[in-house]
Every structure is written in structure tokens, then in C-alpha cells.
């Protein structure tokens, strides 16, 4: 309550005791829409698959076994590490990481630009950033496909401008996936960084310059460390959904650029599906995301200690 002042203090006293009641809706929503589905998924991942989709209530580790180990065609050979799915995971991390980096490189200057505009025009800029997101993600991803294909407007423009001699082939490459992810999640990078930069005290940059720091040193040793919480929040908000995305890799990446999201999606689609395996892959993805978040939280604790 420190720093709230007398009004805050009184409000806190007035509502004291009703706290548990007020937080109830939040708990109900988290319980029904977050905890329960995760529990169902965790349970399914340990069940036996039913061939036309669905599960049989017989506990087994088969799904995890299939993910990590190769026991040959009939399951009776010495177990070897199964690399297929691990590679898909690795590619997903790599793709999501590059997309995050791309978002950071574009998002940071954008957020900086908006936060340094006069107060009244900031709202307009923020609004403009969110406008494309009123359109459905699927539609946006498909339009991206049209934009970047070999005879699409982007290549046409570059050709006409004389910047390239032949179309750049982007569609069905890793780059296309990164561009798709970048486009899908850019605002999640811009908004938290904007919030951090808006609170940034520009006198710090003056102090750094006064103490003989070049612009580069000011950026790397003062500005970035001070707005770091916003940068990290933005990176998490972009990285986590990118990791599980399936629209962009499916539509822009082609078969070679399969990511976890697509792998999981396939397990729940049609007769070829394997619910326990899909659930297991989802649980492994979830654990990885949690590890990233826990490492981050621990870092924060250590810094504020």
C-alpha cells in the first residue's frame, strides 16, 4: 500500500475483506478455461489412441515414447532417439526466435518513435498500429502469401524499381514463415516497449551525454537496460505464440517448414489423427514455454533483490 496516499489507504480498508469475493470471477475463468483444459490435455497425453480419433481409457506412455524414441516399425528394436519431432521442435524455436528478433528490430524503433511524439498524436499512432489486427489472422496470412509470391506486388514493385533482376523467391521458405509470424505478432512487441519508453526519463539520456557517452553507449548502457522489462515482455508475447503458430507455417512455409503448431493440429484432424500424441506434443511445448518463463521470472527476482 506504500505510496498510495490517504485515499488509496482508505479505499483499501473499505474493500478489505471482500478481496476473496472480488477475485472469484477471475479464478472461475482461469479454472474453467485454463487449468481444466490443460488437465484434460495432460490426461489425454497418457491415454491410448483410438484409431478414428479420440482416446481409449487405458493409461500408457506410448505418446511420449513415440515422440522421443524410435523402436523400429514393429516396436521391438532397441530404442534409438527419434529425431523427427525434436527437429520440428528445434525448427520451431529457431523460427519463432528469428521472428521475435525481427519484431524487436522493427518494433523497438517504432515504439520509440510513437513514445516520443506529442501526447495527442501518440494515440493516433497506437491506433494505426492496431488497425490491421481487426482483420482475421487467416485472411491476413493469406494476403501475405499473395504479397510475397513470385509474381506478387512486392516482387513486381522491386522489379519495376529496378532493384532486382528476377523475382525473389520467398514463398515456401523459412523467411516466409518468419515474415508471417512477424506480421502476426508485431503489435505484441510494440505495445509493451511503447509502455516502457513512455515512462523513460529522457533526462537519463542527457545525463549520459553529459557524462561523455556517445549515442551508441547511451542506447546500449542506459536506454536498453532501463526499458528492458518492456523489451522482455514484448519478446515473450511474440515468442510464445510464434512457437505454437500453425497458420503462418502452413500457409507460407509449405511442407518443408513444418512447425510444432502444425504437428499438433494434424493430430486432431481427421482419421490420421492421434489425440494422445498431439496432447503429448502440446504438453512438451507447454513445458518448454514454462521453462522460458520461469527462467525469466527468476532473473527478474535476482535483479530486484
Amino acid at each position: 500500500m506504500a505510496g498510495l496516499g490517504p485515499t488509496g489507504g482508505r479505499a483499501a480498508r473499505t474493500y478489505a475483506g471482500r478481496g476473496p469475493l472480488l477475485i472469484l470471477p477471475a479464478w472461475v475463468i482461469i479454472g474453467i478455461f485454463l487449468v481444466l483444459p490443460i488437465l484434460i490435455m495432460a490426461t489425454y497425453s497418457f491415454l491410448t489412441k483410438e484409431f478414428r480419433g479420440g482416446v481409449i481409457w487405458e493409461p500408457t506412455l506410448a505418446a511420449y515414447d513415440q515422440f522421443f524414441f524410435d523402436r523400429g516399425l514393429f516396436g521391438d528394436e532397441q530404442p534409438k532417439i527419434e529425431w523427427t519431432y525434436i527437429l520440428i521442435f528445434w525448427r520451431s524455436i529457431w523460427q519463432a526466435g528469428l521472428a521475435t528478433l525481427l519484431c524487436l528490430l522493427i518494433g523497438f524503433p517504432t515504439a520509440w518513435f510513437i513514445a516520443t511524439r506529442p501526447a495527442h498524436s501518440r494515440t493516433v499512432w497506437l491506433f494505426l498500429i492496431t488497425v490491421p489486427y481487426w482483420v482475421n489472422l487467416l485472411i491476413r496470412t493469406i494476403s501475405m502469401k499473395f504479397l510475397i509470391r513470385d509474381n506478387g506486388p512486392m516482387n513486381q514493385w522491386l522489379l519495376n524499381a529496378g532493384l532486382i533482376d528476377e523475382p525473389i523467391h520467398i514463398i515456401n521458405t523459412n523467411l516466409a514463415v518468419q515474415l508471417g509470424l512477424f506480421y502476426s505478432y508485431l503489435p505484441f512487441m510494440v505495445l509493451p516497449i511503447y509502455a516502457a519508453v513512455e515512462r523513460y526519463n529522457f533526462a537519463l539520456s542527457e545525463a549520459a551525454a553529459d557524462l561523455y557517452a556517445s549515442r551508441w553507449v547511451t542506447l546500449t548502457q542506459v536506454i536498453i537496460p532501463v526499458v528492458k522489462p518492456g523489451i522482455i515482455a514484448g519478446c515473450i508475447l511474440v515468442f510464445v505464440p510464434s512457437l505454437g503458430a500453425f497458420l503462418a507455417p502452413d500457409l507460407l512455409g509449405g511442407a518443408k517448414n513444418f512447425m510444432i503448431g502444425s504437428l499438433i493440429e494434424e493430430q486432431f484432424k481427421g482419421a490420421a489423427g492421434n489425440w494422445p500424441f498431439g496432447a503429448a506434443a502440446a504438453m512438451i511445448l507447454l513445458s518448454m514455454v514454462l521453462i522460458v518463463l520461469i527462467v525469466y521470472a527468476r532473473n527478474q527476482d535476482r535483479e530486484s533483490a
Partner: protein, 359 residues
């Protein structure tokens, strides 16, 4: 203070600063001597902070030159100017501990980690913060943060230290203590201090010399005594302490002495500010220099219209026959005659207590 030109630390030479149509500084010229505690004093918005920021390099000047020991520095960016600033809100780096904050400038100047750490230790010792060296700024009180800001700016041993209202965020008690400390540090280090404040008491108690600024113009430069006792114009007389401005008609000025006619017709001769002219004018007389007497013996006469008891002294407003109000501060000592409300009374002051101002 040495008077020769070689001792000028900062030479502000006809500096003008405009923001669009607004003139923040209008043709300001002043020379700040080496090792001087120099104060820029004025009300908020007068341009004093702008001038400081022009010296630091955060603002470009529109016209003129700023020379640091003879070198024109107007084209240098702030990080190339050998001056350091203590910011109003301190602007400490929140992610660095006290030592790291103080080392920042030293490392940028190319000092080794070890040398910078040693120097930071010395400076923190000077400002008595050694025991807080490992704390983050957020873990310090306002007064301690203020001293970190000072240490950080002193560490590179700048030729000139700029202080932008560094005490304004502190409470009164602390402000008075830090004033003495600042003065002491200035004398120990021998660094030229340029101190910006709107607080006249701060200016009077700390400075070797004061420049009074108003509306972007330099009003007067002098020692605390000069500007209090010999103000040049109405702004300075009124801004520094309290004063009575008495309407007079000036018959002539000869050898710095003005002969004038006071309200009520008495003739009076007193010193005139350089540049004052004959005709209608104003005399400045400090309330504590006004004494009360019988109406017949007074230079001025009027009736007591207000009495305020202030403990050690008494504030007496006297309304003259032409409606002007003159204030006297009467010492509350034994034997002092306390006037009564409505009483007709005479007012006196010595020639040396009055000064004809530039109008």
C-alpha cells in the same frame, strides 16, 4: 577573486536563444570567473535553466558564442564538453548502483575499471556516501540521491560544474544543510560552480556572484550585497527581498547622486543606479531601513493603515497622502515606540538606504 581576463572560465558572449517566436534568452553576456560560485537567479521561466542547458550543450544557441577558457564550445555536442551537470531530478541511472553511477563518466573518458573505481571511492568519500556505495538509487533518500548526483558530476573533475536547481526537491531542513555542504565542496575542489535557482535566499547565502535574469534578459550581476543593497532596476529590487518603490521626480543626476522630490514635496539626494535618468522615477528603500518619527520630522508623512506583529519585528504599512503605501519593519526591541492604527506618522531613511532605479 582575480580580475584579469585569463581567469574567465565561461564567457557567455551575446547569447540569444529563440524557440520559434519565443525568445528565451535575449542577448545575454556575462563572464564567469574561474573557481567562482556563480548563481543564475530568476523566477521560473526566466531563461536561467535554458542558459545552463546551452552551456551543457543540450540546447543549441541561436546567436552568440559560449567560450570555455577561451574555446568556443557551441558546436560541440554535450558529450564532448568538459562540463558536468547535476540535474534537477538527479537523473541517476536506476539500474546501476551508486558506485557504477559515479564511475559512468570516468569509464567513458577511457579510465580503467580499477582507476574509475578508486576515483569513485574518493568522490563518494567527499560527499559522505561511502557506506551506500552498493545501493541502487531507489534505495536512497532524496538527500542521498542528490549527493550521488553531485558525486557523479564531480568525479570526472570537470572544469565547470553546472547545477540545475539541485536543492529544489529537498525539504527545508535538508536544503539548508546541503547548502553549506555544497559551498564547502566548491571551496575544497576549486571547481567553478554555475548554480541555477529561483530561491533568492539560496542565491544570497551561497554565491560569490549572482546574475539576476528575468524575461530572458540579464538584469544585474554582482555580489549578494551588491544586488541587495544597490539594485539597478525595479525587477531586481523587488525580486531580491522586499522593497518600497517610491515615486519621485528627479531634477538631475550629478556624479551618481540624484536630486529628487519626494511625495509631499520634500527634497532628497541619494545614490542613483548607473543609467538612471531625470524625470519621473522610483526610489528603492528596504523596509528595515525605514524608521518612524513625529510627522513634523518625517521625510514622508502618512497614516498607519496596517500593523502585523511578527515576533522579532513589526510590519507597519503607512499610507501616504497620495495613496501610496510604504512598509516599515520596526525592530521589536525595548523602548521602541509601537505606532497605533490610524496614527499620523513621519517616515525617515538615510540617503545611503535609498537608491534611484533605472526605469
Amino acid at each position: 577573486m582575480a580580475e584579469d581576463q585569463g581567469d574567465i572560465a565561461v564567457d557567455i558572449d551575446h547569447v540569444t536563444k529563440r524557440y520559434g517566436d519565443f525568445t528565451a534568452l535575449a542577448d545575454v553576456s556575462l563572464a564567469i570567473r574561474s573557481n567562482e560560485f556563480f548563481t543564475l537567479l530568476g523566477p521560473s521561466g526566466c531563461g536561467k535553466t535554458t542558459l545552463l542547458r546551452c552551456i551543457a550543450g543540450f540546447e543549441d544557441i541561436t546567436l552568440g558564442a559560449i567560450r570555455l577558457y577561451g574555446d568556443n564550445i557551441v558546436d560541440l555536442p554535450p558529450n564532448k564538453r568538459p562540463v558536468n551537470t547535476v540535474f534537477q531530478q538527479y537523473a541517476l541511472f536506476p539500474h546501476m548502483d551508486v558506485t557504477r553511477n559515479v564511475m559512468f563518466g570516468l569509464l567513458r573518458l577511457g579510465q580503467s575499471e580499477a582507476a574509475a573505481r578508486k576515483r569513485a571511492g574518493e568522490v563518494l568519500d567527499l560527499v559522505q556516501l561511502t557506506q551506500f556505495a552498493d545501493r541502487l538509487p531507489a534505495q536512497l533518500s532524496g538527500g542521498q540521491q542528490q549527493r550521488v548526483a553531485l558525486a557523479r558530476a564531480l568525479a570526472p573533475n570537470p572544469k565547470v560544474l553546472l547545477l540545475d536547481e539541485p536543492l529544489s526537491a529537498l525539504d527545508l531542513k535538508l536544503r539548508q544543510a546541503v547548502r553549506l555542504e555544497l559551498q564547502q565542496i566548491q571551496q575544497e575542489t576549486g571547481i567553478t560552480f554555475i548554480f541555477v535557482t529561483h530561491d533568492q535566499e539560496e542565491a544570497l547565502t551561497m554565491s560569490d556572484r549572482i546574475a539576476v535574469i528575468s524575461d530572458g534578459r540579464l538584469q544585474q550581476i554582482g555580489t549578494a550585497r551588491d544586488i541587495y543593497e544597490e539594485p539597478d532596476n525595479k525587477f531586481v529590487a523587488d525580486f531580491i527581498g522586499e522593497t518600497n518603490l517610491i515615486d519621485v521626480t528627479v531634477a538631475g543626476i550629478d556624479n551618481g547622486q540624484a536630486t529628487c522630490t519626494l511625495p509631499g514635496g520634500n527634497h532628497f539626494t541619494c545614490p542613483a543606479a548607473q543609467g538612471a535618468h531625470s524625470g519621473r522615477g522610483h526610489l528603492s528603500v528596504r523596509p528595515e531601513r525605514v524608521s518612524l518619527s513625529d510627522p513634523a520630522q518625517g521625510l514622508l508623512t502618512g497614516t498607519v493603515s496596517r500593523l502585523i506583529y511578527l515576533g522579532t519585528d513589526m510590519h507597519v504599512d503607512i499610507t501616504l497622502t497620495d495613496g501610496e503605501v510604504v512598509t516599515a519593519r520596526v525592530q521589536n526591541s525595548a523602548g521602541t515606540r509601537i505606532p497605533a492604527m490610524g496614527e499620523t506618522i513621519g517616515l525617515n531613511f538615510e540617503a545611503g538606504a535609498a537608491r534611484l532605479l533605472i526605469d
